[in-house]
Amino acid sequence: MKDKTRIVLADDHPIVLTGLRNLIESESDFAVVGEATSGPEALKVIRDARPDIAIIDISMPGMSGIVLTRRLSEEAKDTKILVLTLHEDRAYLRQALDAGARGYVVKRSAAANLVSAVRSVIAGGIYIDPAIVNRVLSRSPASNRVPLPEIRDLTDRETEVLKLSSLGLTNKEISHRIGVGVKSVETFKSRGLAKLEIQSRADLLRYASQVGWLADI
């Protein structure tokens, strides 16, 4: 018993829980030391049992798996967390990893991958389900942008147009507001964006919030 890996399972669906237990216990060196069907219950069971690894669902009554993971990262640092979920959105994955999970497996592939996932995590690695891992890698996060340039060489008109544009005014509204034609507004805008080396509105908004244009609202 000593050598066996101690595991706690948390899932609000009893039949899934049963299936998982069967899967885990079919491995001779794994032992299920506790089960829970809600977030708060899982927190209590894990704190008491101090397992090597906890396999938890995200969608659970009382407390979501993400919140549970965050709390366990603080309160039960020895227990490694592996998230097992139906969600294949990478937003969940990021949140789970941010919260401190060491593994992420989608339920669709649990039968095939869960055991090896557990072994990877126990061994000190991070396991991400192959079903979604490629989507994570293809991503170039927006937060990694180069620092935005300072205001430079913008004319008053360009500044005004970009500022109003960043506030969400249409070209027509800007044209009325500053008293020039719509075509001129388009020109001022594209010239200003070119000078700032900005290609998208999202970047413009980032820039606007950085230089404080949005604070005027």
Partner: protein, 686 residues
């Protein structure tokens, strides 16, 4: 008259708008139509009279001419006859010249003429009755006289000379010359010098009349006699052009005389002398009667025409008032006006500057439940609910200060008060009227009870329709959410359990069984994927579980991966995560629609931004692409294209939560979708 002038005249003559002529103008036209031909006929008759008058004068000239010709002929013939008698005198036959002189002197003294005889063959002595026998001169005869003498000798006949200056008588003369032949030789030449005074006397004794002039010319166009100023002109040549133009035997011409006065001449050449007798009348005199007649006729005609038209116009005006067509010929009578006023579809009330009612029409009286004349002299506020009266008086004074026609109480619901105190909605138009310096206000009043009820019913129906539509949409969303949950949480979990159970079975199976189980697993995996996709499309559970900002960030990234178009989301979780469910769903659906549009229509786009920002109580959702853009009007012009862009559904969803949609597209720059959603500040802060 210029084009503008013509059209102004047309406007004056016709009834504005109808293009019809008034009765008075039509009468004038008829009179003109009758009178004009009559006057033209009169003019033609007087023209004929004029030409008759002229003929008459010309005939008079002809008569004078003939008469003068006869008299001059007679004078010459009598002289010639005398010459012939003298030529047959026996004194000459016996060459007793002294006897002849004595004989001839008796005759010449009697007749006031001069008789001359000489012998061209023998000597130069000339025997003239003008000098005594003892002193008969030897002299050279003037060339004109000699020329005539030569002619007489050659022809052997009587010849009348041109005018010449008599050397003996020291006067202007013409000579009648006859040769006395003896043995074929002219032994003597006998002549009688006739002072041209004789011819002047003929003309003077038979004057041609006022403004007329008679002239006698010899063959060399020298004036022999003239009816006026004969002494001055006699012996002088006439103008060469006049001479040229009178070279025929008789005729008519117009030519100025030497005093520069235009004359109309008739002339006749006498035989055998070859002299010209001409009688002229001043062209002015000839034309005077024509001018006078024409002036009289024209003046009389014009005056008559003007008088007739003027009288017709004046009488026509009176006729119009009695018989003319209303509106075209005349203004309505009092009775007609009152009838019209009372038949107007709207109520009309006229008040003075103090707001005292001066005039009402029947519709207004009926509308407010008053009897005829009840309201006269009352303040117009009588027609207004008690609580509004003082305010109305103030408004009325404001209007008096700035009187321009306008609807009363624009954008407010006006109420009228009936005599029985009941109130009803009205619409009022105000029209200032100033007569001389007195100001009046005319108000038209329409009872809009029916219209307000209809408007209210319509508004209720529209509200109800919107409520139902919103309810429908919300139900659909709820249903999607429920289905999504069901599929995801229940079916999904069960499927998970199934795959786990299959795994569990694996260890009891031989190689053959495991192989088949792998196939089963593949099927279960496929089912799981489908399930996930369907649930997600129905409604991403992550909206609720992760918050809208995170969900959208994820959604935009996924979209970018699928389409290969760089796309970014910018939005702050604190701005949007706590919005009401309906608002969050709307935001998600609008973005979904917009991104679908870009994928479908803006294939050139390679940069897409989805931005949500908050400006006070307004949430601003902006989706832009840098595709080719499109001409909005063209794209939105046809319903099918409009529909294909999903714009109506976006707009619909937004209007459900009080939001608005704006689309800007510019060719070559791209398309931007602006959605604005009002949010309660508390909602955002919750």
């Amino acid at each position: 008259m210029s084009q503008g002038g013509l059209s102004a005249l047309g406007r004056y003559l016709t009834v504005p708008g109808s293009g019809r002529l008034t009765l008075r103008i039509r009468l004038c036209l008829i009179v003109a139509a009758i009178l004009a031909p009559a006057l033209i006929l009169a003019g033609m008759l007087s023209l004929r009279a004029i030409s008759a008058e002229r003929t008459h004068i010309e005939e008079g000239l002809g008569r004078t001419l003939r008469q003068l010709s006869v008299e001059i002929d007679r004078e010459i013939q009598s002289t010639t006859a005398l010459l012939v008698v003298l030529a047959g005198s026996h004194y000459l036959q016996i060459d007793d010249l002294e006897g002849f002189h004595q004989y001839a002197s008796g005759i010449s003294n009697e007749l006031g003429i001069q008789i001359v005889v000489h012998r061209p063959q023998l000597d130069k002595r000339v025997i003239s009755t003008g000098v005594p026998w003892e002193r008969t001169p030897e002299l050279t005869l003037p060339a004109v006289r000699l020329e005539a003498e030569q002619q007489a000798i050659q022809t052997g006949k009587t010849v009348i000379s041109d005018v010449f200056f008599g050397p003996v008588s020291q006067r202007l003369l013409v000579s009648a010359i006859v040769p006395v032949m003896r043995n074929g030789i002219a032994e003597y030449v006998l002549s009688i010098g006739i002072p041209i005074r004789k011819f002047s006397e003929i003309l003077e004794n038979a004057p041609p009349g006022e403004g007329r002039l008679a002239v006698v010319l010899d063959r060399s166009n020298t004036v022999v006699a003239r009816s006026e100023k004969s002494e001055l002109f006699a012996g002088t040549k006439v103008l060469s052009e006049f001479a040229y133009r009178t070279s025929g035997t008789e005729g008519v011409l117009d030519h100025t005389n030497r005093e520069g006065i235009p004359f109309h001449w008739v002339f006749r050449r006498l035989q055998p002398t070859g002299w010209l007798v001409t009688v002229g009348v001043k062209t002015a005199v000839l034309d005077a009667s024509a001018r006078t007649t024409f002036a009289y006729t024209a003046t009389a005609g014009t005056t008559l025409f003007a008088l007739a038209i003027g009288l017709t116009y004046l009488l026509g005006g009176r006729l119009e008032n009695r018989f003319g067509t209303l509106g075209i010929d005349r203004r309505p009578t009092r009775e007609e006006f009152a009838l019209f006023f009372d038949s107007a579809p709207n109520g009309v009330v006229l008040v003075d500057h103090n707001g005292i009612v001066l005039l009402t029409n029947s519709p207004l009286e009926r509308m407010f439940g008053y009897a005829e004349t009840d309201l006269l002299g009352q303040p117009v506020e009588t027609l207004i609910p008690n609580e509004l009266r003082s305010a109305h008086a103030k408004h009325r004074q404001d209007f008096a200060r700035n009187p321009v026609p306008r609807p009363m109480g624009a954008e407010r619901n006006l109420l009228g008060r009936r005599k029985d105190g009941s109130e009803f909605p009205i619409e009022v138009g105000l029209y200032p009227i100033t007569i001389q310096t007195t100001q009046y206000i005319m108000a038209t009043v329409i009872d809009i009870t029916e219209r307000s009820l209809a408007a209210k019913a319509l508004s209720t129906a529209l509200t109800e329709r919107d409520r139902l539509r919103r309810h429908l949409m919300r139900s659909a969303e709820d249903e999607r959410l429920r289905l999504s949950h069901e599929l995801h949480d229940q079916t999904g979990q069960t499927l998970t359990a199934a795959t786990l159970a299959a795994k569990d079975v694996e260890k009891f199976l031989d190689a053959e069984g495991r192989q088949r189980l792998t196939k089963l697993n593949a099927l279960l995996d496929q089912m799981g994927k489908t399930l996930h996709k369907v649930a997600w499309e129905l409604r991403p559970a992550s909206i609720d579980e992760l918050g809208l900002a995170a969900m959208l960030d994820n959604y935009v990234t996924d979209w970018s991966d699928q389409t290969g178009v760089a796309a970014e989301f910018y939005g702050k979780a604190e701005d949007i995560d706590n919005l009401p469910d309906e608002v969050r769903t709307t935001i998600y659906r609008v973005i979904q629609e917009a991104l679908t549009n870009i994928a479908k229509h803006a294939s050139e786009a390679n940069q897409v931004s989805v931005v949500i920002s908050r400006a006070g109580a307004v949430l601003q959702l902006t989706i832009d692409d840098n595709g080719d853009g499109f001409d909005l009007a063209e794209k939105l012009g046809t319903p099918s294209k409009y529909g294909s862009l999903g714009i109506p559904s976006m707009r619909e969803r937004l209007s459900m939560i009080g939001g608005a949609l704006e689309i800007e597209s510019s060719e070559g720059i791209g398309t931007t979708v602006f959605a604005r959603i009002p949010i309660e500040p508390e909602e955002a802060l919750l």
